[in-house]
Subunit: 691 residues, 2 copies
C-alpha cells in the first residue's frame, strides 16, 4: 500500500504526544518518553493498517496489537500510548479513564491487563513477555488459518503487530521466541522495534551493543529499518507494507526514534525517570500548535480521523461476517466447528472420552496416564494444541499420528499440525502458550520436567494473572526421577506454584486422578493448570474416582474413630496407604486423604473440607518435596529436609525415609505425641477468619 | 601453538569413548553419545592446553573447565565425559567412583555438583547454566587480572573453557549471557559448541534452524568452525590456539561431530535414549583395537599421557607460586589483599563499618538503607562486585564514585571496575553471579525488582545447591511499589524462595535489620541470600539491633501475659506495631515479633525460638504477600488473598486491609476466637518430630 499523507496526520500525532504528557503528569507516575517517541508509528499503524473494530473488540479475525515496548524496563511501561490509542479509536475507554491512569481500580492500571481493559489482548509489563505472546498469537492465526481457510474463504488471515523496545530484546525469553518464530516462518508477525538507544541505566552503549538486526537475520527474520521514526511517516508506512508482503518470514522493523520527542529533554535519560515538568509540557503544546493551558485536549479532526479508521474496521468485520455465513453454507461441518471454537466452547460430551480405571488395573507412571488421556481426547477436542521443550519422548506429549506444526517447506509437518516442537525454550514456550490462549479457539498445553517449569516462572504467573487457560504437562516431578539427581529434582517448586493465585497445581496419584486433573483443567477456561506427573509407576487407588478427585481432595481410605489421618498427593499417596496398613497391624486406625489440587479443594464448601480433614485426630502430611505450605492442611509435616539425591529412585526414597514402613514409624510418633499432649485435636481448617 | 601429533592420541581418544560406553552401560542410566562425540576435543584440550594441577585442584590461576554440553537436554548430561577426564588426569576420582556413576551417594552423581566432586568448578545440568557460569568465570579473571596484575607479573590470566551443545544454545539464559560477553569483550572465554544437529526430539531441523554462527558474530564473538571434530585433531588444536590468541573477543568454536561416533548407531537418535547394547560396545572395542570382553580398561600409555599433562600443570603451578612470592616482595599490599581474597576471607573488622540506627533516625526505604550499607562497605571490602539488570537507579546499587566494569575501549569504565551493567538479563545475571562466586576472590551481588528475581529462578536454585555466595538486592518487594501494579507486585515470590534449601531470604524491617541482613549474608560463604527491600520508607524500630536481627527473628515489642502475638517482617512490622498500640487502647496486650529470615531463625536453638514464638496466646502472621508457609510460625495468617493492584501504595495497602487499624480489628477477632475455643494455645514450633 503506497502512503497517502493526510492533513490530519500532524495533529493526530501531536495529540498522542501531548495526551501522553498530560496523562502521565496528572498521574504523577509513569513516563511519557516512549509514547511520545512511538506516536508516529502508532498513528500510522492504527489509522492506516490495523484491521479491528473498536465497537466489537473480540471480532475473531481482528489484527492483534501487543504493546511490549518498555523503553526503560518494566518500571516504565508506556502503556499510556496504548490507552490513548484505544480511547481515540472509540474502545470502551473514556477520557476520564485516561485521567485515572495508574489510580486504584481504574481501567488504566500501571500495565495493560487483558480482560480488565477493553481492547487489551495480552497482559504485558514484565519484559519480553509481550514479544513472545505475539509469537503465540501469530502461531494461532497460522494454525487456524491452515485448518479452516478454503479457496475463496480466507477467514483467518489477521496480522499480529508487536511494539517492543531495547529492554524486551535483551531478555532471553524474547530471544527464544524469536528463534522459534524464524524457524516457523511466521509471515504474519510484524514487530516494530523502538530503537532509541536508551534504557534505564542510560545509553544502551553500557550493556547492549550487539547487532540486533544481524541477530534477527540469523534467526531467519526479515529486518527492515526506518532511519527517521520521528517524522518520516512515508518510511514507516512503507516498512509496514513491506512487512505485510513478506509471507514466509516474520519481520522486525528497526525504528530509529528520539525518546520524548518534542520535549526539551528529548533523547535524554531525563524523560524517563519522571513526568515532564509543567513548563516543558506547555512549551510542547505551543510547539505543536496546541493551547499551552488546555489539558487533555483532542481536536475534533483527530477524533474524526480515528472514527474513520474505526469505521473501516466495522465495515471489514461486516463483510467478514458475510463471508463466514456463505462459508457455513458451503462447509457446514467446518463452520460449526470453527464457530464453536471461536465461542470458546468445547465439543459436547467430550468428558465421556476420559479414561476410567479400576484398582486392579496395572500400575503406570502418571506421565503415561497423561499420554493416555491426550490420546483419548485429541480426536474429540481438536482445540488441543501442544508441544514440549525438546522432551517429547520423556513427557509423552505427542499423540500417535499427530502432525507437527511446521512450515510445509521443512517437510516435517504443516501449519495444520497440532504438535509444536518448542525446542529447549521453556520460558518462551510458556509465554507463547499465553499468546495461543489469548488468540482463542485453541487450548494450549506445554511440557517439560516439573523442575524446569521454573525457567518459565515469569510466564506462568502471567497465565494466572491474565486468566489464560494453559495446561502444563510437568513430568519427572520428584526425587522419583532418580539418577538425574538434585539439579533436576524439584524441592521448592510445589510451594512456589501453589502460592500463585488462580493457578491450579495438580499432583494426581493415579489414573482416575489424572483424568480428573485434565477434566477440571479443560473446564477451567479462566485458569491455567500445572499437571505434576511422575516418572515412576503408580498403583491405582481403591477409592479414587474422577468425581471425587475433581473436588481437589477426598478420602482415599476411611476409618471411624481414627488415631491419625495422613494427607498426601501424587506418588506419595500409595506410600501413605502402605503406612496406614502397617499402622493397622499395630492397632492404629489411619485415614488417608489425597489432596491433588489445593486451589480446587479450597473452593469446596467448608462442610465438605471438614469432612475430609476433620477434627479428632492429628493429621500428618506427606510429600517428597519441601513441606512448606502443608501446615495449612496438617498438624505435622513429612517431606524432604533439603535437596534430593542422584541414584535409582527406590534407593533415593529409602534414603529420605519416604517408605511405607518409615512413615508408619513417623505416624506412630505423631499419634503418641498428641495422646501425651492431650486435649482436643482441632482441624487446621478451623480458623478465626478467612481472607 | 602448532599441533604436534602424538602416537598416544588415538588410544587416549578411544579410551575415553570406550570408558564412556562401559560406565554408562554399568549404571544402565545416562547416555554415551556426547562423550563419544566430544572425546577428541576433550583429549586435545586436556592433553595440550589445559593449565591445571590435578593434585591441587583449587590452584587459583588454573584454567576453568565447564561442561555445559547437554546433547539432548538436561535428561542426558554426558558428564561421564568430565568424570572420565578427571579420572585420567589424576583428580580424586577412582575407577571405582566411575563404576558408581549415578549411584546413591557416589562421587559421580547424574550431573556434576561443585563442592561434591574434586575438579568440578560449577554445578551444571539445567540447560544454559554452565554457559552463563563460564561468562561469570571469565569476568572474574578479567577483573582480578586488571586489579592485581603488574608489568612482569601476569598472575591472573587463566582461560575459561566451556563445552556446550544445541540444548544450551536454545536457552534464553545463554543468549543473554552471550550478548553480554560479547559486549564485555571477554577474550579469555572459549566455548566449544558440539554442533551435532541432534537433540532429544531428533534432528535439530525440527526446532533449531537459526544460523548460530551468525548470531554469535552479531554478539561480537569470534566464530570458528571445525568441520571434522571426529578425527581432525590438528583442526581442533588450531581452533583452540586461534581462540586463545584473540584477546578482545570471546570465541565460539563450532565443532561438527558425529554423536555416538564409533557406535553402530552413530549420528542417530538411537545413541541418546539408552546405553549402548552389549554387542555394540564389543564391536566398538574391537574397532578401536581394544579387547571386546575387557571392561573399564585404560591402557598404560593413556594413563602416562595424562600423567604428562598433569605434570605440566604441577610445574606451571610451581612457577606461578614463585612468581606470586616475588610479587609479594615488590607489591606487599596487593599481595596481602590478593592472598586474603584467594583464601576467601573478608578483611578484619569490616563489620565495624555497618551502619547502626536509633529509633529516632528518619524513616527510609530499605532499598535506600541497602545503598547506605553498600556505600559503607565497598571501601573496606573490595571483594564486592555488583550490578543491576538495568535498574540501577531504582535498586540503588551503584555506590558513588564506583567504576563500571567495562572494556576500556567503551570509555565507560575498565576491567578494574566493580560495577557490572547487566542489561535487562535477570537469568544470565544470576548464573553469571554463580560463576563469579565460583571463580573466587569476589563476593558478587546482583539486583532487580523482587518480582523479577523469578526470571532467574533456575540460577537461584543452583546458587543454593552449589553453595555459591551470591547476594540478590531485590527491591520494590510488595504492593508497596504501588502504581506498577499486579504485573510487578510479588505474591508467590517469598513462599518460592523460602522453600529453597540453603537460601537465606531476608526481608528487613528497618535500618538495623538491613545491616544485619548484609552482615549475615557476607559471613555466610556457603549460602546465597536474597534481600527483599522496600520502595517505600520504613520507620526504625525501638528494639531492633544488628545482633538481634542476625538471629533471624526476635521480639520487637514485648508484653507479659499477652493476649496476642503478631509475627511479621519487612515493611509490615511497623504496621503490626501500630496495630499493637491500637489493641493496647482496647486493653489487649500484643507482642510483636519480627522474622526477617526464616532460614537463620530455624537455625537458632529451640529454647530461643520458643522464647520468641511462645505458647500461651495465639500468634497472627502479617505479610503483604501470599500467606503460604506462615502457618509454620503462627496460628492465624493475614496477607494478600490474591493479586495486588495498581495505585498509590498507601491506597493499595488500604484496599487490602493491611493497616494498623484493620490489623487491630483482625487481631481482636483472633483473640476472641481463641478465648471462645478455650484450652491451652501451644506454640506452632512444638512438633512431634523434626525432619
Amino acid at each position: 500500500m503506497s502512503f497517502a499523507p493526510q492533513p490530519t496526520d500532524a495533529a493526530a500525532i501531536a495529540t498522542i504526544r501531548i495526551l501522553a504528557a498530560d496523562v502521565v503528569a496528572k498521574s504523577n507516575s509513569g513516563h511519557p518518553g516512549a509514547p511520545m517517541g512511538m506516536a508516529p508509528a502508532a498513528h500510522i499503524l492504527f489509522s492506516r493498517f490495523m484491521n479491528a473494530n473498536p465497537k466489537s473488540s473480540k471480532w475473531f479475525n481482528r489484527d492483534r496489537f501487543v504493546l511490549s515496548v518498555l523503553d526503560l524496563t518494566c518500571e516504565r511501561n508506556p502503556c499510556v500510548l496504548q490507552y490513548t490509542m484505544l480511547h481515540l479509536l472509540g474502545y470502551k475507554l473514556s477520557m476520564d479513564d485516561l485521567k485515572a491512569f495508574r489510580q486504584l481500580d481504574s481501567l488504566t492500571p500501571g500495565h495493560p491487563e487483558a480482560g480488565h481493559t477493553d481492547g487489551i489482548e495480552v497482559t504485558t509489563g514484565p519484559l519480553g513477555q509481550g514479544f513472545a505472546n505475539g509469537v503465540g498469537l501469530a502461531i494461532g492465526q497460522a494454525h487456524l488459518g491452515a485448518v479452516y481457510n478454503k479457496d475463496g474463504f480466507e477467514l483467518i488471515n489477521n496480522y499480529t503487530y508487536v511494539f517492543c523496545g531495547d529492554g524486551c530484546l535483551m531478555e532471553g525469553v524474547s530471544a527464544e521466541a524469536a528463534s522459534l518464530a524464524g524457524h516457523l516462518q511466521l509471515g504474519n508477525l510484524i514487530v516494530v522495534y523502538d530503537d532509541n538507544h536508551i534504557s534505564i541505566d542510560g545509553d544502551t552503549a553500557c550493556a547492549f551493543t550487539e547487532d540486533v538486526g544481524g541477530r534477527f537475520v540469523s534467526y531467519g527474520w526479515q529486518v527492515l529499518q526506518v532511519d527517521n521514526g520521528d517524522s518520516d511517516l512515508a518510511a514507516i508506512s512503507d516498512a509496514i507494507t513491506a512487512a505485510r508482503l513478506e509471507k514466509s518470514k516474520p519481520t522486525i522493523i528497526k525504528l530509529k526514534t528520539t525518546i520524548g520527542f518534542g520535549s526539551k529533554e528529548q533523547g535524554t535519560h531525563g524523560v524517563h525517570g519522571a513526568p515532564l515538568k509543567a513548563d516543558d509540557i506547555a512549551a510542547l503544546k505551543t510547539k505543536f500548535g496546541f493551547s499551552p493551558n488546555e489539558k487533555f485536549h483532542v481536536p475534533k479532526e483527530t477524533y474524526d480521523a480515528y472514527a474513520e479508521a474505526a469505521k473501516r474496521g466495522a465495515t471489514s468485520e461486516a463483510s467478514w461476517n458475510a463471508l463466514l455465513a456463505s462459508y457455513g453454507e458451503k462447509y457446514p461441518t467446518e463452520h460449526a466447528e470453527l464457530s464453536r471454537r471461536m465461542a470458546g466452547k468445547l465439543p459436547e460430551g467430550w468428558e465421556k472420552s476420559l479414561p476410567v480405571y479400576k484398582a486392579s488395573d496395572s500400575a503406570q507412571a502418571s506421565r503415561k496416564l497423561s499420554e493416555i488421556v491426550l490420546t483419548a481426547l485429541s480426536p474429540v477436542i481438536p482445540d488441543l494444541m501442544g508441544g514440549s521443550a525438546d522432551l517429547t519422548g520423556s513427557n509423552l506429549t505427542k499423540v500417535k499420528g499427530s502432525t507437527d506444526f511446521q512450515p510445509s517447506s521443512t517437510n516435517l509437518g504443516t501449519y495444520a499440525g497440532t504438535y509444536i516442537r518448542y525446542g529447549v525454550r521453556e520460558h518462551a514456550m510458556g509465554a507463547i502458550a499465553n499468546g495461543l490462549a489469548a488468540y482463542g479457539g485453541i487450548v494450549p498445553f506445554v511440557a517439560t520436567f516439573l523442575n524446569f517449569v521454573s525457567y518459565a516462572a515469569g510466564a506462568v504467573r502471567l497465565s494466572a494473572l491474565s486468566k489464560a487457560q494453559v495446561i502444563w504437562v510437568a513430568t519427572h516431578d520428584s526425587i522419583g526421577l532418580g539418577e538425574d539427581g538434585p539439579t533436576h529434582q524439584p524441592v521448592e517448586t510445589n510451594a512456589h506454584f501453589r502460592a500463585i493465585p488462580n493457578l491450579a497445581f495438580w499432583r494426581p496419584a493415579d489414573g482416575n486422578e489424572t483424568s480428573a486433573a485434565y477434566a477440571v483443567a479443560l473446564k477451567s477456561t479462566q485458569t491455567p493448570s500445572i499437571l505434576s506427573l511422575s516418572r515412576q509407576n503408580l498403583p491405582n487407588l481403591e477409592a479414587s474416582t474422577i468425581e471425587l478427585a475433581s473436588r481437589g481432595g477426598y478420602v482415599v481410605h476411611e476409618e471411624t474413630g481414627e488415631d491419625l489421618t495422613i494427607v498426601s498427593c501424587g506418588s506419595e499417596v500409595s506410600i501413605a496407604v502402605e503406612a496406614a496398613k502397617k499402622l493397622k497391624e499395630q492397632g492404629l486406625k489411619t485415614r488417608v486423604v489425597s489432596l491433588p489440587c489445593w486451589l480446587v479443594f479450597d473452593q469446596q464448601d467448608l462442610e465438605y473440607r471438614l469432612s475430609v480433614l476433620r477434627s479428632g485426630a492429628p493429621i500428618l502430611s506427606l510429600e517428597a518435596l519441601s513441606t512448606l505450605g502443608w501446615e495449612k492442611y496438617s498438624h505435622e509435616q513429612y517431606g524432604l529436609p533439603s535437596w534430593g539425591a542422584s541414584g535409582p529412585y527406590l534407593k533415593v526414597y529409602e534414603k529420605f525415609g519416604i517408605t511405607g514402613s518409615n512413615i508408619a514409624v513417623v505416624g506412630k510418633k505423631v499419634v503418641d505425641f498428641y495422646k501425651k499432649k492431650g486435649g482436643e485435636v482441632v482441624s487446621p481448617l478451623i480458623k478465626a477468619f478467612t481472607l
